[in-house]
């Protein structure tokens, strides 16, 4: 299946350990994160993560579903770059 660069946009609770959990979930399944950007939103209790990851549509969809299963993840969207 064709691998393409996808940008995942994740809104997560701003707590210790959440970044490691998200990154671990992606890297632990053998996918390489190309770019990672984390910062606070206007609501200080929520952080936004932009994650660029190379993968097929199917793989990226699976990553999104796994991310949404995480207890601290509020919302995940994605687009192809």
């Amino acid at each position: 299946m064709k691998e393409e660069l996808h940008r995942l946009s994740c809104y997560v609770e701003n707590r210790p350990g959440v970044l490691a959990r998200i990154v671990g979930l992606i890297s632990g399944r053998g996918y390489n994160i190309q770019t990672l950007n984390v910062g606070p939103t206007e609501d200080g209790t929520v952080s936004r993560m932009k994650i660029d990851v190379l993968g097929s549509e199917r793989v990226v969809q699976q990553i999104i579903l796994q991310l949404r299963n995480q207890v601290n993840v509020i919302e995940v969207t994605s687009r192809r770059l």
Binding site: V12, E13, P16, G17, A20, R21, G24, G28, R58, Q61, Q62, L65, Q66, R68, N69, Q70, V71, N72, V73, I74
Partner: protein, 543 residues
């Protein structure tokens, strides 16, 4: 409620009481000593394991047999690292559990302090979720959240790491009346159009098969699956985790499918035009390595509570994220009564006689399959079957006729050797009055034999059946078939397990004569307390 000041350890104990915990499995240590002091005056039944892995497997067996979350408390550092295999096992098989672990004081975290380990880092990949508590005030709410997370959505183990100073400091925090999680809302249900499509596919199928998995047991949907099967005339196969979710003495039962499954079950899945997969996750043991060949003539319906399991391994025609029981209750009125006589006749033609595998390979040597038959008849099929991992696990899975949910307890996803002995103890503690049959290989039995003494302390009605073939049989079997019989590291010297049993005060009996097998098993089943049978079986028998 009036809040009263107490230390964090007492707040934890009160929170566990509020969460409905009755038994706690665990092992003490320096960084949980305050918690154990608080436990000393609490009403819990504390089960002291002999190794933290044993404690977690016991809790796992307890939760599976009872259908309620289990609780474990261990100390920091090695106490926690010893739980990893147990947590991974519970996580893969979706077993609800809350594990509380001590931690070095907050100020010492990251200093490589004595018995320090990065608990949240270590347990992230083997738990559903984990927490590091930062103050005693957080403890009651964290416990409530942990039990909520462990039991909602796909169940799983949740870890709470509590630094020692948080156990000692004073708090007046109370257990919350309800749990509010900002981002975790696992409640799911089917849309009307999904329900309609489900009914339409089932009603128009000519050669349907139901595949029932562990999710059927988790959602308590066995009766609903049976109702669907009988009404629409659909034969039912189960995964390893689903054994007992459908009565195998029913004419519609196909038994286990997959890599080690029944021929008829696999043939039916290969030939069916509709596969209704309920509470399964299409593990590679179920689909085979070439997923594209799995049920290739069929439309596939997949119902599971975990949205991430749908279209993960198998691409399906209708994926429904829902609780299995809720979905089946909703769809029931739209299902037409049907009979598929030709289809069932074809399937019956694929069934193999049950006597297969019982014929001795060598005169005077016990066939391992005959041990399972002997236990089945001595317990009239009513025992809770717990297994370790290996050939005996497959024989127990296939030869025992499983009729009730929560009566087959096995490490499915993780395949963790060493699970059997402690999980059997947990199951026996969960279900007083039930006879437990623990099927063990002589390999796995050596991994956690330190827990046997717990069965003696508690006088548990467990029959431990050690299949002695002096080899790591399932690996040896792979070496026979895939490596031209180049056996390496699979010959196994095993202790005399009857002496091991005697050393811990347990009755132990050696069985070598096929003619004595049935009587020995029947007498062990009649025995009130724990008993171990060391049974010499044919090492050439294959699973």
């Amino acid at each position: 409620m009036r809040s009263t000041a107490k230390n964090g350890a007492k707040a934890l104990v009160e929170a566990l009481e509020r969460a409905g915990v009755e038994k706690i499995f665990g092992y003490p240590g320096g960084n949980v000593i305050d918690i154990f002091d608080a436990l000393s005056t609490a009403r819990f039944d504390f089960v002291l394991a002999r190794h933290e892995q044993g404690a977690v497997h016991m809790a796992d067996g307890y939760a599976r047999a009872l259908g309620r979350p289990a609780c474990v408390i261990v100390t920091s550092g090695p106490g926690l690292t010893n739980t990893i295999t147990g947590l991974g096992t519970a996580n893969m098989d979706g077993v609800p559990m809350v594990l509380v672990c001590g931690q070095v004081p907050l100020a010492q975290i990251g200093t490589d302090a004595f018995q320090e380990a990065d608990t949240t880092g270590l347990t992230r990949a083997v738990s559903k979720h984990n927490f590091l508590v930062h103050s005693a005030d957080e403890i009651p709410e964290t416990v409530a959240q942990a039990f909520y997370i462990a039991t909602h959505g796909k169940p799983g183990p949740v870890v709470i790491d509590i630094p020692r100073d948080c156990q000692r400091e004073t708090t007046s925090a109370e257990y919350p009346a309800r749990v509010a999680l900002r981002a975790y809302h696992p409640e799911v249900s089917a849309t009307t159009s999904q329900v309609n499509r489900f009914a339409k596919l089932v009603n128009s199928a000519k050669r349907p098969v139901i595949l029932a998995g562990g999710g059927v047991i988790a959602s308590d949907a066995s009766h609903d699956v049976a109702a669907l099967a009988r009404k629409a005339g659909i034969p039912v196969s189960t995964t390893l985790m689903g054994l007992g979710s459908f009565d195998e003495t029913d004419p519609l039962a196909l038994g286990l499918s997959g890599l080690h499954g029944e021929y008829a079950a696999n043939a039916a899945i290969a030939q069916c035009d509709l596969l209704v997969a309920l509470g399964v996750r299409f593990n590679d043991r179920v689909t085979g390595q070439t997923v594209s060949k799995f049920a290739k003539r069929a439309k596939i319906i997949h119902v599971d509570c975990d949205p991430a399991s749908i279209n993960k391994n198998v691409t399906v025609d209708l994926g429904i994220t829902a609780d299995v029981k809720e979905l089946l209750m909703t769809v029931d009125s739209r299902i037409h009564s049907a009979k598929h006589d030709e289809w069932l006749a074809a399937i019956n033609g694929w069934r193999r006689p049950r006597t297969e595998g019982l014929k001795p390979l060598h005169k005077g040597v016990i066939m391992p399959q005959a041990v399972v038959e002997a236990v089945y008849s001595a317990t009239k099929g009513r025992a809770i079957v717990v297994t370790d991992v290996g050939q005996h696990q497959l024989w127990a899975a296939k030869r025992f006729r499983h009729t009730q949910p929560r009566h087959f307890i096995s490490s499915g996803g993780m395949g963790a050797m060493g699970f059997g002995i402690p999980a059997a103890i947990g199951a026996a503690l969960a279900r007083p009055g039930c006879k437990v049959a623990a099927f063990l290989g002589d390999g796995g039995a050596q991994m956690t034999s330190e827990e046997l003494i717990v069965a003696v302390e508690r006088k548990l009605p467990i029959v431990f059946l050690v299949f002695r073939n002096s080899s790591l049989g399932l690996v040896r079997q792979m070496q026979t078939h895939s490596f031209a019989g180049r056996y390496f590291a699979t010959d196994l010297a095993s202790p005399d397990f009857t002496l091991l049993a005697k050393a811990v005060g347990m009755k132990g009996v050696k069985v070598t004569d096929p003619a004595r097998l049935d009587a020995a098993v029947a007498s062990a089943v009649r025995f009130k307390g724990p008993v171990l049978l060391d049974i010499e079986v044919d090492r050439d028998a294959e699973a």
